[in-house]
């Protein structure tokens, strides 16, 4: 969440996908070649193939969190599995730090996973025969680190995820939330550059989920990993993401910042998600402010451009004059008009309900 700035184009993307296709079925490759890149899900289905991912292209930059959102069967997990190469991609190219992932040999892939990748799973996927600390140390021991080193490192991770004192428990003795903390700690043990999370909080109760999201944001604040996060929960996506990719039937419908998705849904499908979203809870002041007009007289109230609207809206609406918007250095960068705020928060909805 640290920045919503569009990343500079010169920086090399950490993950880069170019027209990735994943189609399940026997003669998927042949069919794909004959279709010239234009994949019609229905046509493929008739031929006994299932389209998982359909022409996905995007880039993820260092320290960015991309949330892949979609309902079940939309191909979001498949896309993630393609990027982690847990499944083979049917066509297209994937680059990790500029390296062609699909060209790696088995050995190189194992090296990449041992050093650069970490993954958290929906149902935790802990090894039932190992204790918390052994589970966390597992990737290190697989790598060939000495027992002492990996145990020390694993204990650090136990501290980090707040499970100190339970390191000798077995997974079966922990609650769901605690088990997922172990999963998170295990995926972070090798200090990966890229962190994959496949619906990590979906199996948890709502309250625990909220708590884990907070915990996750805290961790990301400290670690600043490059993250690919899969979820079916739109609210979760809005809460966590730097950018969101919304998927349907294997196609990425829209890939943008949460604010842009809420304000300008690209397709009807995306609009359905955004309709119910309470905008004041999602949007930041930045999204509704107008550019600074020097002729205007601003009120004394100053709000940060990164503030969520909900937290300041009462004060803003009580002001008669436009409110000054300041950045982190307390420099005025824009003005906030009541009318605009009201329009953004309530305007569109009304039009739609009338229509």
């Amino acid at each position: 969440m640290s920045s919503q700035d569009t990343p500079s184009q010169k920086e090399q993307p950490v993950v880069k996908c170019e027209s990735v296709y994943k189609i399940f079925g026997e003669n998927a490759k042949k069919m794909l070649q004959s279709s010239n890149g234009k994949v019609d899900a229905k046509e493929f289905q008739d031929a006994g193939c299932v389209v998982g991912v359909n022409n996905a292209s995007f880039e993820v930059y260092h320290g960015e969190m991309l949330v892949i959102m979609g309902l079940s069967g939309s191909g979001k997990s498949t896309l993630l599995r393609c990027i982690s190469r847990l499944t083979d991609t049917t066509a297209g190219q994937i680059f990790i730090d500029g390296e062609d992932l699909l060209a790696l040999s088995g050995k190189e892939l194992i090296e990449l996973r041992r050093n650069k990748m970490g993954m958290v799973f929906q149902s935790f996927a802990l090894l039932p025969h190992k204790t918390v600390v052994e589970n966390i140390a597992f990737p290190l021991q697989v790598k060939g680190n000495s027992t002492k080193d990996s145990m020390t490192r694993a204990m650090e991770m136990v501290e980090l995820v707040g499970l100190a004192g339970r390191e000798n428990y077995f997974p079966r003795e922990l609650s769901g939330g605690q088990q997922q903390r172990v999963g998170i700690a295990r995926s972070l043990a090798v200090e990966p550059d890229i962190w994959f999370l496949d619906e990590p909080f979906s199996a948890l109760d709502p309250l625990i989920r909220k708590e884990m999201q907070d915990e996750f944001l805290r961790l990301q604040g400290v670690l600043k990993k490059t993250i690919l996060f899969v979820t079916h929960d739109f609210d979760e996506a809005l809460r966590l993401a730097d950018r969101i990719a919304i998927m349907k039937d294997g196609i990425i419908e829209q890939l943008d910042t949460p604010a842009n998705i809420v304000l300008n849904p690209a397709t009807e499908y995306v609009r359905k998600f955004t309709q119910e979203v309470p905008r004041e809870k999602v949007l930041k002041i930045e999204a509704v402010m107008d550019p600074l007009d020097s002729s205007e007289e601003l009120s004394d109230l100053k709000v940060s451009k990164d503030a969520i609207i909900e937290t300041v809206v009462e004060a803003v609406l009580n002001e008669k004059k436009p409110v000054a918007v300041v950045d982190a250095n307390n420099k005025t960068v824009g003005a906030l008009h009541n009318s605009k705020v009201i329009h953004v928060l309530f305007g569109d909805n009304k039009e739609e309900t009338n229509a």
Binding site: N27, K29, K30, R81, S84, L86, G106, I110, E111, R113, R114, N115, M117, G118, M119, F121, Q122, S123, F124, A125, L126, L127, P128, H129, K130, T131, V133, F138, P139, V142, K143, N168, F170, R172, G183, R186, S187, V190, F196
Partner: protein, 803 residues
């Protein structure tokens, strides 16, 4: 009519039954001949009837409402002999087929994705082995066979000669095929010996050594020392005698294991069990049996793990193994003995090998099942942690599947003990051997005592291994050395105390017998006179009522049933079984069961197979009625279900042979004895599956039923039974297999079915063909029923959405 329209299967079933009855009625003039065993064959031999009539006469007979003889019993048929030829033409054909297959694969691969020849080879080189097998089979076997059939002068053989042909092939493989030069130390010369012979003798020697080693650890002896030195060396060094473990040590160790694995209850069971064996003087044969199990079980486990992992890794291995496992699991115990005897001789090692072959299939099944049940996410997690294949298998998959695999180990141990008695037919020493001796001398009391010992060993080993399977791993992080190794240390202490005790014993007891070291058979307590007395008393009082029951059963129930089975013309049997197969699983099932039946029908044992079928089906019908009744009653109550499941568990651990003993006391050497043992043995699965099935009906549904106001009976009939029925049918399936096994074992006390011939094959030097084919016949009966019930149950479960 509407009801029938909605249930086309019922109409089909009606047709099948009507056809079946019509065919039976059409037996006509033959019905008097075939209702005695082998009546048809004998009539043919005497020249009273012709076995085959021509086409036109057949038609006219059918028009007269009379089945032609070849539809009543399949006559002796001839087949064209296959030929194996390695002449240059056929070698060329082989190479051609190989080239064609390779080109076909390569062409298909470059069509879908462009890969170079070298890449293709790297990726698919394993395929070459498969292609080599196919092309050798096609080029050297199929091609010359076809050529001879069409253009040459083919020879024919009778299907009834198949056993002899199989025997000849086995002997050829064993004694002539691929001779190699072996140095024979006895005559100090090189000698030509057949390869297979050498290999089997090597395996035999290795197993024999392992058994002797463990036996001598438990009982003491000199064979292991001799293996490393020589008899001469031994006679020069009289001190070199390996002492036995004092029985106190074994007893205390079993108690300790029980305590460590589960707690006080198991410790007491293990302790008292071993104590009983010791003070009743059965220590020596028991330890012989134990040593036999301790060798056979680990080998089976390792083999099972290997094949299980292999079939998990490779789809083709799984597909290839599946039918083999099916056959292996429906072959009766006895059928393994004959081939093993031919290839591995007689003795402990042969018994061990038969046991291993018998015990490995369930281990393969459970390993595969366990590995498949590992959640795919755990596998992914392993991959993402950067495991290579080896680490993934041994650090992630196998430990995660630990429970299922250990249940497999438990199954293996049980199978080993079940075989312990049967393996003594081919010379395995131990309790089983003594038991057979006792039974042969009609010392029933002694047999009962020995049987009890086997049961005790089985129950103790079963409970110990199950406790091991269910035990969760303990964590040893910061424990001090003593804590961490407390059980090993305790064992050392037990060992030292035991040795000290037996040393003291040498001063304590006079007369050369040290009761703290080993209680010999003659000096143990024995209940034999008491048991024998009790039996005599029982027989004195109840002889007439028992005999009355026995007579009634045989004359009024069994004989008519047997006659009705025998008087089925072969076409009616085929029609009925294939019809049911078609109704349940369509054409495919009908063909599968037809193949199974055809295999039996082509051999000369059709009448024997019918007798086996009649005994098994009588057992199954009674067992299923008892099982479902008892199971349904017990399932109404939680405590009762628990008790009945426990009873089933315990009874299931008893080796099947043991069941014969008490029944034999009551009914002597008759069919009744066999059938009652069959019923006792086969009721176990029927009861267990009924209870399990009824208990697995979801609680919600029960509640929904209660809220709709059903009575107890209604709930049972309308809700529980329909939902549990597929599971109960799986139980019936088990019942059939159990019943078949027991019928075959019953041959030991005299039946006249397939089993009797298997036993005869055991004492026949040329018996391997008979033994194998008879075993396959029994397996075919089992597979037919198994296929129909499984197909039905799976379909039904899918329909109910209970997969």
């Amino acid at each position: 009519m509407d009801y029938l329209k909605k249930n086309p299967k019922l109409v089909q079933l009606g047709f099948v039954l009507i056809g079946f009855v019509v065919l039976i009625l059409m037996t006509g003039q033959y019905s008097e001949i075939i209702d005695v065993r082998d009546g048809f064959t004998k009539a043919v031999e005497k020249g009273q009837i012709v076995p085959v009539v021509g086409f036109s006469e057949s038609v006219s007979m059918i028009l007269r409402g009379q089945l032609p003889p070849q539809f009543v019993r399949i006559p002796e048929l001839n087949f064209l002999n296959p030929v194996v030829s390695t002449s240059i033409v056929y070698i060329l054909t082989t190479l051609l087929i190989m080239a064609g297959l390779i080109f076909n694969n390569y062409y298909a691969k470059i069509q879908s994705s462009k890969i170079s020849l070298i890449d293709w080879f790297k990726k698919y080189w394993t395929k070459l082995f498969l292609y080599a097998i196919i092309s050798i089979f096609g080029g050297l076997f199929v091609a010359p066979t076809l050529f001879t059939w069409f253009f040459g002068e083919p020879e024919t053989s009778s299907f009834w000669d198949l056993p002899i042909i199989v025997t000849d092939y086995a002997n050829f493989l064993m004694y002539e095929w691929f001779p190699i030069e072996i140095y024979d130390p006895d005559i100090e010369e090189f000698e030509d010996k057949a390869l297979i012979f050498q290999i089997t003798r090597g395996i035999s020697a290795a197993l024999l050594f392992a058994i002797a080693l463990i036996r001598e650890i438990l009982l003491g002896g000199v064979k292991t020392i001799v293996t490393f030195t020589s008899w001469d060396w031994l006679s020069e060094n009289k001190w070199a005698h390996w002492p036995a473990l004092p029985w106190t040590v074994v007893c205390a160790t079993a108690t300790m294991l029980g305590y460590a694995l589960k707690g006080r209850g198991l410790a007491m069971l293990a302790g008292f069990g071993t104590l009983y064996i010791s003070i009743f003087g059965q220590w020596q044969p028991s330890m012989e049996t134990l040593s036999f199990v301790l060798v056979a079980a680990p080998v089976s486990v390792i083999l099972g793990l290997f094949f299980g992992v292999w079939s998990y890794k490779s789809k083709s291995a799984e597909v290839a193994l599946a039918p083999l496992l099916n056959i292996a699991q429906s072959m009766p115990h006895f059928a393994y003995l004959v081939p093993v005897m031919v290839f591995f001789g007689i003795g402990d090692q042969a018994g061990a090998i038969a046991t291993i072959i018998f015990a490995t299939p369930p281990m393969i099944r459970l390993t595969l099942l366990g590995l498949k049940r590992v959640s795919p996410e755990v596998v992914d997690a392993g991959m993402m942690s950067g495991c290579h294949n080896y680490q993934l298998m041994f650090k992630v998959l196998i430990p995660t599947a630990r429970r299922d695999i250990l249940i497999g180990v438990n199954q293996v141990i049980m199978q080993c003990l079940a075989m312990a008695v049967i393996a003594s037919f081919i010379g395995a020493k131990g309790l089983g051997f003594n038991l057979l001796l006792a039974l042969n001398q009609l010392k029933v009391g002694q047999a009962l005592e020995l049987g009890l010992c086997i049961v005790i060993i089985a129950v103790v080993l079963d409970k110990l291994s199950l406790a091991w399977a269910n035990k969760q791993t303990d964590y040893f992080a910061d424990l001090p050395f003593i804590e961490r190794h407390k059980w090993s240390l305790l064992f050392v202490v037990i060992l030292l105390i035991g040795i000290a005790l037996s040393y003291i014993g040498t001063f304590l007891f006079k007369g050369g017998i040290n009761y703290l070291y080993l209680i010999p058979h003659t000096k143990g307590i024995t209940l034999e006179p008491m048991l024998q007395g009790g039996i005599d008393w029982f027989l004195d009082y109840f002889f007439f009522s028992l005999q009355g029951f026995n007579k009634w059963l045989i004359i009024d129930v069994l004989l008519p049933m047997r006659e009705s089975y025998l008087s089925m013309p072969v076409s009616a049997t085929f029609f009925l079984v294939m019809g049911i197969g078609y109704i349940v699983g369509g054409i495919r099932s009908a063909l599968i069961v037809a193949w199974c039946l055809l295999f039996i029908a082509l051999l000369e044992w059709w009448d024997r197979a019918l007798i086996t079928a009649y005994m098994a089906s009588f057992g199954v019908i009674v067992s299923v009625i008892i099982g479902i009744t008892v199971g349904s009653l017990c399932a109404q109550n939680k405590t009762a279900s628990k008790v009945v499941l426990l009873v089933c568990d315990t009874f299931q651990t008893f080796p099947s042979f043991v069941y014969l003993i008490p029944v034999m006391i009551l009914f002597g050497v008759t069919d009744t004895t066999v059938l009652i043992s069959v019923i006792i043995y086969a009721t176990i699965p029927a009861t267990r599956y009924t209870v399990e099935g009824l208990n697995s009906v979801p609680e919600d549904l029960q509640d929904a039923g209660s809220m709709s106001g059903v009575s107890r009976i209604q709930r049972w009939v309308k809700i529980e039974l329909p939902l549990a029925f597929p599971h109960i049918m799986l139980g019936v399936n088990q019942t059939v297999i159990f019943a078949l096994f027991m019928v075959i074992i019953g041959a030991f006390i005299g039946t006249e079915d397939l089993g009797q011939y298997i036993i005869k094959a055991l004492s026949d030097k040329q018996g391997i063909g008979n033994g194998l084919l008879l075993g396959l016949c029994v397996a075919c009966i089992g597979l037919t029923v198994d296929h129909i019930i499984q197909t039905w149950a799976i379909k039904r479960k899918q329909l109910l959405g209970m997969d």
